[in-house]
């Protein structure tokens, strides 16, 4: 399922843009987040814009350190010093939460947006029961349920995430759960208040492959039952193909490609996307020789190059003057426009792709 990009402002920061469309759950415009460190200021999120429609599943793909987690935390306002969100708008259900006070944000977190974290082992309070931790999330936003109601809801949630023996398990402690079980609990907590948007930061990275599949299936079912939108942050392209509608590829704090899942996999426009896809080992296409990897290493976010951030490692643009000196603007390709890529040669590549 691809999405059309017609009629949406594509991330020009600061310009007076039309208000977000009604069926957009999330509309991020020009988000900028910085961390002040010993080596200088690190721009983790550099002028990022994207939208998520109701019940849509969007992937944010990238390597470690590209700013994915910072993006998630920035949206929720959970960036702590030495980090700071320094600019942009975050429109959630028609309200700009980037202007919200901490108090107002607290009403939103866990309620309209939820977060699922990546490390289930350390994501739960070790000295509180699972039940208590789910109830905490419920009571925060649904105090009208009262204690009994909240506990009842916690039980049904635990059942929904397919934890066996749910009734007894409510009184267990996190260390009595396995990794996969804990992740299910995390999902239960995240969905407790029927959020409109769920941000899942590498939800299955810490799990083994079989459990990964189970958890993902579960997530898919629950999310579609509730009509919640999902932003899935991952570096695992396999999951993306199965689960998501749209893909946004992140590199050095920006989205270098935004496209529907079919387009991303069939005809990647940005060279980085292509390189990522090529580096995934595929059992159905056995090639002899070393596994292709992307040469070089991700840029130091404290000292970014003047031109395209991918240029040093780009098979296409390395050494080219325009790539080294001018940061590529987001370019829409396709007719009707359906892919946005930040590459000077986006059009050429797209047209070349048409042939394949």
């Amino acid at each position: 399922m691809t999405s059309g990009l017609a009629g949406r402002g594509v991330g020009v920061a600061g310009a007076s843009t039309p208000p977000p469309a009604v069926d957009d759950v999330l509309d991020v415009r020009g988000l900028r987040t910085e961390f002040v460190g010993k080596e200088g200021t690190v721009s983790a999120v550099r002028n990022v814009s994207f939208t998520v429609r109701r019940a849509e599943k969007v992937a944010v793909v990238g390597e470690s350190g590209c700013g994915k987690s910072a993006l998630a935390l920035s949206i929720l306002g959970l960036i702590e010093p030495p980090g700071r969100v320094v600019g942009g708008e975050i429109w959630l259900n028609g309200r700009d939460i980037s202007r919200f006070s901490e108090r107002e944000l607290r009403a939103v977190r866990g309620n309209e947006i939820s977060l699922v974290f990546q490390d289930p082992m350390s994501a739960l309070d070790p000295v509180k029961t699972i039940g208590a931790q789910i109830v905490e999330a419920i009571q925060r936003h649904q105090p009208n349920l009262g204690r009994r109601g909240a506990q009842g809801l916690a039980l049904s949630l635990l059942r929904e995430v397919e934890v066996p023996n749910a009734e007894r398990r409510l009184n267990d402690y996190p260390h009595q759960y396995s990794g996969g079980m804990r992740q299910r609990v995390m999902i239960a907590i995240a969905l407790a208040n029927e959020p409109d948007l769920l941000i899942a930061d590498e939800p299955t990275t810490a799990l083994d492959v079989t459990t990964q599949a189970q958890v993902l299936d579960l997530l898919e079912k629950l999310v579609s039952d509730r009509g919640a939108a999902v932003v899935l942050i991952t570096h695992n392209l396999g999951i993306v193909a199965e689960f998501c509608d749209r893909v946004q590829v992140m590199y050095a704090g920006r989205f270098v490609e935004r496209a529907g899942v079919e387009d991303v996999f069939r005809r990647p426009t940005h060279p980085y996307t292509e390189a990522l896809l090529r580096s995934v080992p595929r059992p159905d296409r056995l090639e002899l020789g070393p596994l292709p990897s992307i040469p070089g290493s991700p840029p130091n976010l404290a000292h970014l190059p003047a031109g395209c951030t991918f240029e040093p490692r780009c098979p296409l643009g390395h050494g080219r003057e325009i790539c080294a000196t001018v940061p590529p603007p987001p370019i829409q390709v396709g007719n009707p426009a359906r892919v946005v890529a930040e590459c000077h040669f986006a059009r050429e590549r797209w047209e070349a792709g048409e042939a394949s």
Binding site: E102, G110, Q176
Partner: protein
């Protein structure tokens, strides 16, 4: 799932008993090494040799060493801790009279240390202001490095002698205060319970400076520990998860970070007790506090070692027992320790 518990308790109890046994051996060895003839010391230098010899026989000092040990330990367990050389009174009576004073002082010192440590650690870690954090750290360095006896003296000079805010080293009560009826032996408690507010205030007023002097080192120790634990816990992912539920910063700190930080701090309780025990010996002398510690220091001065010996062995027993209780308690409170295997 709780089958780890009895094993844990049994194991620890066993090692505690062996530790006490070993400690009693050490205590006994050093007791017997005391130069001079205990009988002679007891009877004084003018007693006749015959009398001394008779007492030696009576005290069992001619028995083989293991028999002596056995009698010593058996007596100790039954409450016979020997007789003070100088006063002739049984050591148990003397210690018994003095113990409540030491316990009261220890309790207030602990209260001071605990409340102070929590307050300081929370202040230092909650808002992460480097100046505040730095000064709390500096305080803890000073607290650990200050000799408690000297500090007590400094407190007295500054707050009592110069500023006249607190009483001088005249013990637990002013001369014109009436002693409260002996219910617990703790003057503040007894006075409060019997409605004698004047005495309560007086007793409290007297205990402030010595409690601070005694509690300084435990305070410093606890602050360091708690602060380190709080910092560790605050960085844990589950705190961010709690925040993502919409819980506020302070609530997350108070309801999730603090309890998790307290847990490992609990294990220091035994060490704190050790500090208080040793410290009371030092501080009571400075304040003329009529406690067991002062008894010991007096005993040392007068070479009345029966009291000192009893105190030493008693401290060891109490120390071991408290550590045992703390370990078991930790097992009860921390759900992770109980289970032998995790259930998937």
């Amino acid at each position: 799932m709780r089958h780890g518990m009895p094993r844990l308790i049994a194991g620890r109890t066993l090692s505690s008993l062996s530790a006490i046994f070993g400690a009693s051996l050490i205590s006994f060895i050093f007791l017997r090494l005391v130069p001079g003839n205990p009988a002679r010391l007891f009877l004084g230098q003018f007693a006749s040799q015959d009398a001394v010899d008779k007492l030696v026989e009576q005290m069992g000092l001619k028995d083989p060493i293991y028999v002596q040990y056995y009698k010593y330990m058996w007596g100790f367990l039954r409450g016979d801790w020997g007789f003070s050389y100088t006063t002739g009174q049984p050591v148990t009576t003397q210690l018994g009279h003095r113990l409540p004073a030491t316990i009261e002082l220890g309790l207030y010192a602990f209260l001071f240390a605990f409340v102070g440590a929590v307050a300081l650690a929370v202040i230092a870690t909650y808002r992460r202001r480097p100046v505040v954090d730095g000064s709390v750290r500096a305080m803890s360095f000073f607290g650990l490095g200050t000799p408690p006896f000297w500090f007590g003296l400094v407190l007295l000079v500054v707050f009592s002698e110069r500023l006249h805010l607190f009483p001088g080293p005249d013990g637990r009560l002013s001369i014109d205060s009436t002693q409260p009826p002996s219910i617990t032996g703790l003057y503040t408690v007894d006075a409060l319970v019997t409605g004698n507010f004047a005495t309560f205030a007086d007793a409290l007023w007297h205990i402030v400076l010595p409690a601070i002097a005694l509690g300084l080192a435990p305070l410093a120790f606890l602050v360091r520990l708690l602060r380190a634990n709080l910092l560790d816990v605050s960085r844990e992912p589950f705190i961010v998860v709690v925040r993502s539920k919409g819980i506020g910063r302070f609530s997350a700190f108070a309801r999730h970070a603090l309890p998790n930080a307290f847990l490992p701090t609990l294990t220091a309780a035994g060490l704190i007790l050790g500090q208080l025990l040793a410290g009371s010996v030092l501080v009571e002398k400075v304040f003329n506090w009529p406690g067991a510690g002062a008894l010991v220091t007096d005993g040392i001065l007068r070479q009345d070692y029966a009291v000192v010996q009893a105190f030493i062995l008693l401290s060891a027993v109490v120390y071991v027992v408290v550590n045992l209780v703390v370990d078991i308690l930790y097992g009860v409170i921390d759900p992770r320790v109980r289970v032998v295997t995790a259930v998937a």
